[in-house]
Every structure is written in C-alpha cells, then in structure tokens.
Symmetry: C2
Subunit: 217 residues, 2 copies
DNA sequence: CACCTTCACTTGACAGCGTTAAGTGAATCC
DNA sequence: GGATTCACTTAACGCTGTCAAGTGAAGGTG
C-alpha cells in the first residue's frame, strides 16, 4: 500500500465517521421533530439524544433551519415518487386530480415536515454544499403541477379564459394547501366542526376542475 | 358629595387610569406588531415604547398571546363590518363570491393580524374577563359563511351531492386561505413566479362556484 | 521517534426571549 | 394617622439559538 493510498484510506475513514455522526444527528432530530414539531425540537435536545454537546451540531449544519430542511428534503422524496408514478397517467385532468390527492395524503402523513416546509417562511434560501440555491423536491412537485396544467391548457380542455398556467397551478395548489393548513392550525377550535380534510379536498378538486373545464360536464 | 360618591369617583379615576395604560400597551403593541410581525414583537420592546417595564404588561394581559389576540380582535371588526354589508346581497351565490373577495382584501390589508389569527395555533382558547370562551369575530365570519352556503343549499342552487354546508364552507374558506397563506410564506421563493393572490382568488371563486352549481352555466 | 497539523468536538459563555415571585411606594380608605 | 390596596418595579429563572476559544486524539512528516 503506497503512502498516498494510506492517506486516502484514512481520509475516507474520517469522512465516513463524520458522515456517521451527521446521520446520527439527522436521525435524532427526525424523531424529535416528528413527535414534537419544529419549535419544540431544540438543538440541546437533539444533541443530548446522541450524547453530544449542542455546538457539535454546528459542525455539520449551518443552523437549525438547515438541519430541518435537510430532514424534510429526505422525506419529501416520497412525495416526489408518488408524483412520478402519477406522471404516467395520460389524461392531464385525471392526473391533476390524482396529484391533488397524493399531495393531501403526503401532507397528512408528514405533518411536521409539511408544516415546516409550507407553513413557515425560511430565513435563508436553501443552499447546497457549493452554496448554490437548491431546487428542492417541493419545487419539483410544483414544476410537475405546472406541467400538468400546461398540458391541459394546450389540449384545450380548460375554458379559454383559464389560459395562465401559473395562475391555474397556484389556484389548485393554494386551494388544497388551504384546507390542509387550516385543519392543522384550527382543528381543535371548539367553534368549528371540521370535516375530514381529505374529503373536503376531494370535493374541492371535483368542483374546481368541473368549473374549469371547457365542456362543463 | 357623600363618601360613597367620593369612593366611586376615585375608583372610577383609578380604573380610567388603568384603562389608559392598557390602551397605551395595545397601541404600542399594534405598531410593533403590524410593522414587524408577531415573533419580532417582544414584550420588552412594547414596554420600552411606553416607558414601562416588561412585567407591567402582565398586570393587564395574561400573556403575549392574549395581548395580541385582543389587538387582532379589534382589527377583525372591520372584516365583520364588510361581511355585514355584504350580508344584504340577496343572491347567496353572489354573496358568497363577494364574501370571498372581502376576506381576501382584509387578509392582504392586515397581514400581521391575519397571520396570527389564521396561520398560528394558539396555546389557550380565547377567554373573556369571566373566563368564558369568546366567540371571536373570525368565528362570526365563519358563521356568516356557513349561513350563506346553507341558504344556497336550501334554495337548491348547488349540485345535489354538495349538500353538506360545513364541507362547502370549509372548501371555500380553505381554498381562499390557501392562496393567501401560500403567498405570505412563499412569495419570496426564487423558484416560483407568484401571481397576484387577489386575481388567483377571483379565478378560484369563479371556478369553484361554477363547478358547484346545479345548472353549470 | 518526535514534532506539527488537522479537526471533530467541548467548554463556557452571550444575548435574547417569555414569564414570575417578591418588593415598593403612592393613592385610597377607615 | 394607621392600614390597605394595587399599579408598577426589581431581580431573577429557565429557556432558546448560537459562537469564540480551547482541547485532545488522530494522522502526516521530518
């Protein structure tokens, strides 16, 4: 074994060890984050869970936001996968409907992640290791949505006045997001009897799509 | 002047003075709250603005949430007034549409208040002086919405499968809320070109209502 | 082998937050 | 004139995210 080979081997081990602690931080953070939510998850608690001091975390993540963003990004890949499957549906209208329901399922199954990614304003844009702005999975999902409504517009299935793809996409996304987020923040409100958000979303999708189609069936 | 008259007079003065400080706290808090948002508004900053110590505030308000809830309640009366005017519109469908737009205008004109009341989970239910749960103006507005969709259902203007008033109300409320809240949290996102939320809401209301009517025009 | 460097991690703090128990002093009451 | 009330202050508590400086083991190099 040459000296350079030894160097690279030990370097590799060091990096592997660092990656292991990094992963340990992520695992501990995920557990707390999912069970307690963002704000109740403290750097001190994460550190204690893996037997480090809080400051150790800062050698692996810029700040708390960066740590949690990384957590969420990993979970969001499952949304991406669901969207990918749905992408094979030919009819852009049926695809849109299915995307809406998949999005809803994801939100209700990953409440902490959803709350953080879509109901919080981040301090910093998401950056990768080289400092470039990252295209996160939720933006992939948005691109997917945009493409789906664009296809519908191009096929002429929507009413002529609904020709703006971003507006249409934001209408659908916003609408679904609203039912979900209102439910998250207000489902304990004693004054309001909340309906199952999944059913309300379904009703909304049906109504919104029916009202957007050219030949309103 | 009898002794009891003196007593009530001085009592009244004391109470008036206390009410004045209370109002001063509210005024200072509103200014900071509107310009900086909830989280950036600290008890210490409010107190400094009126020349008191932070603890003084706790003689007038249970905690920070209670103070801000009271602020918001006052501002929400303008939404209530707008709703009241709209209530005179005969056609429940047109009324619904107008309510949606009034709600949107209110949200975009009172962003801090809206964010706090609808995008935050409160720790405690809102209580009045006697400790009873308060019916806040936003719940009045919800009741208004509920009544409007109920009227539409009773008049038979909506499709027969849309017979659940709470679901319909939550669909409309949630839909509008989603566009607004998504815009609040993500309008600075470099990946997404956001359309004017007012226009997106209008498009959504048109589509949702058209898709909900029995004789889809 | 001995010295030097690297760097993951710790120590000990800082400034800020919401909140509270105890104290003060002026106004009020009897 | 002494007792009482109470709006407000003082001084702290425990918590947060975060950082500058230090430590010590591992690895590199003469």
């Amino acid at each position: 074994m040459t000296t350079s080979a030894i160097r690279t081997a030990s370097l590799a081990r060091r990096e592997r060890q660092k990656a292991e602690t990094r992963q340990a931080i992520l695992d501990a953070a995920r557990e707390l984050f999912v069970s307690d939510g963002v704000e109740a998850t403290t750097m001190r608690a994460i550190a204690a869970k893996i037997g480090y001091t809080p400051t150790a975390i800062y050698h692996h993540f810029r700040d708390k936001d960066a740590l949690i963003v990384e957590l969420c990004m990993a979970d969001f890949s499952s949304l991406g996968q669901a969207m990918y499957k749905i992408g094979r549906i030919e009819d852009p209208v049926e695809r849109l409907r299915r995307m809406g329901m998949a999005y809803t399922d994801f939100a209700l199954d990953n409440t902490s992640q959803y709350r953080f990614m879509f109901m919080t304003s981040l301090k910093h844009p998401i950056l990768d290791a080289e400092g470039k702005v990252v295209t996160s999975p939720d933006e992939d999902a948005y691109g997917f949505l945009l493409q789906t409504v664009t296809e519908g517009i191009e096929k002429g299935v929507y009413r002529p006045e609904l020709s703006d793809a971003p507006e249409l996409a934001q209408m659908v996304w916003g609408g679904i997001h609203g039912i979900i987020s209102l439910w998250f923040t207000h489902c304990d409100d004693p004054h309001i009897v909340f309906r199952d958000p999944r059913e309300t979303v379904r009703t909304m999708c049906d109504a919104m799509i029916r009202g957007s189609l050219r030949n309103s069936a």
